[in-house]
C-alpha cells in the first residue's frame, strides 16, 4: 500500500511538472524553484506533514521535500532560539541534501567525462 501510494502521488506530481514544462515557456530550473517554494509554503501552513503521512515516498523523494526541510528547520530553531533561529535554522536539516549533492557533483566531475 505504501508503495502504491508513493507511486500514485509521486507520479501525479511529476505529471503536473510535465504539464508545466509543456504548457509554459519556463525551464526545468523554474520548475525546481517552484517545487521548493511550494514545499516551504505548505510546511509553513502546516499542510505538509499530513501529506507525508499519506503519501510517504510520493513526496519525500521529490524536490518539494527540500522546501519542507528548509521551512521545518527554520520553524524549529525559531521556536528554540527566537531571532537567531531565523538564520541558524534554514539549513539545519537542508544541509544534508546540499552537502550530498555538492560532494557527489565534485566526485563525479573528477571521475567522469561528459558524453555528448
Amino acid at each position: 500500500m505504501n508503495y502504491l501510494l508513493a507511486f500514485l502521488v509521486g507520479g501525479f506530481i511529476c505529471g503536473l511538472g510535465q504539464l508545466f514544462l509543456d504548457l509554459t515557456n519556463y525551464t526545468p530550473a523554474h520548475l525546481l524553484v517552484i517545487l521548493v517554494v511550494s514545499g516551504a509554503v505548505l510546511t509553513g501552513l502546516g499542510l505538509y506533514q499530513p501529506i507525508i503521512d499519506f503519501a510517504g515516498g510520493g513526496v519525500t523523494v521529490l524536490v518539494i521535500n527540500f522546501g519542507h526541510v528548509l521551512a521545518k528547520g527554520v520553524l524549529a530553531e525559531v521556536e528554540r532560539l527566537g531571532f537567531l533561529g531565523l538564520f541558524a535554522g534554514i539549513l539545519e536539516i537542508g544541509s544534508i541534501g546540499i552537502s550530498a549533492s555538492i560532494v557527489l557533483g565534485f566526485l563525479m566531475s573528477v571521475i567522469f567525462r561528459p558524453k555528448e
Binding site: A6, F7, G10, G11, F12, I13, C14, G15, G17, Q18, L21, D22, L23, N25, T27, P28, A29, L31, L32, V33, L35, V36, V37, A40, G56, G57, G58, T60, V61, L62, V63, N65, F66, G67, L70, A71, G73, V74, L75, E77, V78, E79, G85, L86, G89, I90, I96, G97, A100, S101, L104, G105, F106, L107, M108, S109, F112, P114, K115, E116
Partner: protein, 148 residues
C-alpha cells in the same frame, strides 16, 4: 547534455532537437510512470532502513542521500540524461533531478577548470533553488516569530 542549466531560449532549442513528437498526454504519462517509479525506489530504501530499526527522522535523510548518490552516479555514467530524454519532468521533479542539476553542469564545465568551471557552474541551477527556497523559509520564520 544537461537540460537543466539552460536559459529559456536555449532550452526551447534543445527540447526541439531531442524531444519526440509525442502528444502531451503521452509525455505526461511517461513522466507519471518514471517519476512514480523513482518514488517507489525511495520508498523501498526508506522501508528497508526503518525495518533495520533506524528511526524515521534519520531514515528520511539517509534515503535522500541514497537517492542523490544514485542520481549523481547515473548522471556521471551518462545514463540519467538518457532516461530524462524519455521521462521529462519524471526525472526532474524527484530529488535525483536536483542531484542531476548539480552534477551535470559540474561535469560539463570541467574544461573551464576546477575553480571557475566545476566549482562555480555546479550552482547554476542549485543556486536559484537554494536562494528562493531559503528566502521562503526565512519569510516563514519571520511570520512565526512576529505573529505566533
Amino acid at each position: 547534455m544537461s537540460q537543466l542549466d539552460k536559459t529559456p531560449s536555449e532550452y526551447k532549442r534543445l527540447i526541439k532537437q531531442v524531444s519526440s513528437d509525442d502528444s502531451l498526454s503521452k509525455k505526461v504519462t511517461k513522466a507519471y510512470i518514471i517519476g512514480g517509479l523513482i518514488c517507489v525506489v525511495g520508498e523501498v530504501i526508506f522501508q528497508l532502513l526503518v525495518a533495520r530499526g533506524i528511526p524515521v527522522e534519520e531514515a528520511n535523510p539517509l534515503m535522500a542521500i541514497s537517492m542523490i548518490t544514485i542520481g549523481g552516479l547515473l548522471t556521471g555514467l551518462g545514463v540519467y540524461d538518457r532516461i530524462s530524454q524519455y521521462a521529462g519532468a519524471g526525472t526532474i521533479v524527484p530529488i535525483t533531478g536536483f542531484a542531476n542539476a548539480v552534477v551535470a553542469p559540474a561535469m560539463e564545465h570541467k574544461q573551464d577548470g576546477y575553480i571557475l568551471g566545476v566549482g562555480a557552474k555546479m550552482y547554476g541551477v542549485a543556486g536559484p533553488v537554494l536562494t528562493y527556497g531559503m528566502l521562503t523559509a526565512f519569510l516563514i520564520g519571520v511570520i512565526k516569530l512576529v505573529f505566533i
